[in-house]
Symmetry: C2
Subunit: 300 residues, 2 copies
């Protein structure tokens, strides 16, 4: 079963202490779609400008991603540039050019509207709403977000959280949203906003899942010896998770733990190269290897 993914489709210029990489393929939807594509067919919703390199369209196609929902518009592709500090944990945005995203209004192809699994990857909550409005009756909708929307579009975001089955955010965003320093208390408060499943991403420390009915899951991160560029790791995590869930179909409670671990695995590959350089080249077999390694690493 395919998974519908909406989010940003962007060009990322990324500076780290060791290298500078301009105009990489980036954006939440790109990372999530490539990650999900290892598990299930993906339908992508996004927009790119006429400067969008053909090789990036080719990359989507090589991963079998359905591009009927990818709009091509006159103007510039969304461009983000950022810089990482030495330890790769802190990053700052150098520049954001919205380009064609400024006037983007996602219109779903008819063939997209009955998708059962929907990932509203990080993008303005109003656009996430707009996509959801066009869907028939999806089985499982997950939304991701970022601190920017907590700062400038909180009411929209709160309304969105009410509409989704699962909500994903990172630890500092969870603290900001709930004004709770303790993550267990933060999870409780987020459940009260609506969603059955809440996932807090903790980067190199893994992730925590909290469910209303089936308790919690502490998900490990794959230990890495070298982090080249963590941009998109969170998007890869949630993309792979949704890909696995839509592939396995069955009850979410039965599959979501494994889905999250697959998410950690793909996120770990994402961190090992700039942009999608590594993620786009891995194989399902390489994913299974790290999955098994994570099983061994955490067994007691």
């Amino acid at each position: 079963m395919s998974v519908l993914i909406v989010g940003s489709t962007a060009l990322d210029s990324i500076k780290t202490p060791k290298a500078e990489n301009p105009r990489l393929l980036g954006g939440s939807a790109s990372h999530a779609a490539v990650a999900a594509s290892f598990f299930a067919p993906v339908k992508l919703v996004g927009i790119v400008g006429d400067d969008f390199p053909k090789r990036y369209v080719q990359l989507y196609k090589e991963r079998g991603i359905d591009l009927e929902g990818l709009q091509l518009a006159k103007g510039k592709t969304f461009h983000w540039s950022g810089e990482y500090e030495v330890n790769m944990n802190n990053r700052r945005t150098l520049e954001t050019e919205l380009g064609v995203f400024e006037t983007f209004s996602p219109k779903l192809p008819v063939a997209y509207r009955d998708a059962d699994y929907v990932l509203l990857a990080n993008i303005a909550p109003s656009l996430q709403h707009h996509v959801l409005d066009q869907m028939q009756e999806p089985k499982f909708v997950v939304a991701d977000t970022m601190d920017l929307w907590l700062n400038i579009a909180l009411p929209d975001l709160i309304k969105l959280i009410r509409r989704v089955h699962g909500f994903v955010l990172n630890d500092s965003e969870a603290r900001q949203l709930t004004q709770e320093d303790n993550l267990l208390n933060a999870l409780k408060k987020i459940h009260k906003l609506g969603p059955e499943y809440v996932i807090i991403k903790k980067g190199e420390h893994g992730a925590i899942l909290s469910t209303k009915k089936n308790g919690m899951f502490v998900s490990p991160a794959y230990p890495l010896q070298r982090v080249v560029d963590p941009t998109g790791a969170g998007d890869s995590f949630v993309g792979a998770m949704m890909g696995y869930l839509s592939k396995t179909r069955g009850p979410v409670d039965t599959n979501i733990r494994k889905a999250m671990v697959y998410g950690s695995v793909v996120a770990s590959y994402c961190c090992e190269g700039f942009g999608l350089k590594i993620t786009s080249r891995i194989t399902r077999q390489a994913i299974e290897e790290r999955f098994r390694r994570l099983q061994l690493l955490t067994k007691f």
Copy 2:
């Protein structure tokens, strides 16, 4: 089989944003010994002054801890006072009075010298050496440390690391010791200093074990809703771990993962009260409950 534990036996005055607690029973050996006592008989090596409250001696005795190696000296008990910030992650030392520790030279009772399991809890490396010098041929020796000794007694510490089977430190200490930001690289460098087992404690994010022959283990932390006072959590972790190992005896590789998870469990109780208030009152059954809960929380 009993475990020999040497370390500081102290009075701790602890300030948090919510409360102030003067002259609690503290010190690395106190926390480690009480934690270990739930699993195996403990022989304690330490020193206290004549101001050491009788009720604390009583507490050791109630936990069945052998006090033949606890010296009672004229003068003041080692006293540490510290303050935690709002999020309980950062602490600063307000005052340290060495008292009777200034001239402490641990002399092991004859009955202690053939102990098979030895925990050199956090204390000056010269004292850890001194204890080790008096031992016959222990099967498994683990040393813990703190940043202070990296700063003022590094050559002694490096020599000690060569003499032990297992070395335990926290993530920032591992980075300081090895000048490596990445923990996997730090682990490799520490193995080169000698020990077969290296454990890096990451507080609320759990711990990582690295072994020379049997790979790694990523150990979870028990998620807590309320951290009252984290002082002694690391000592409790390593104390419970050594207690469990000395109880089960068999090959360390077979038991150390479970031992670490028991360590996490006792450390979690430690954090829920000031000093040893909670740890000294729990039961083996309560420990088993959290152990099982951690199994459920991490299964995938």
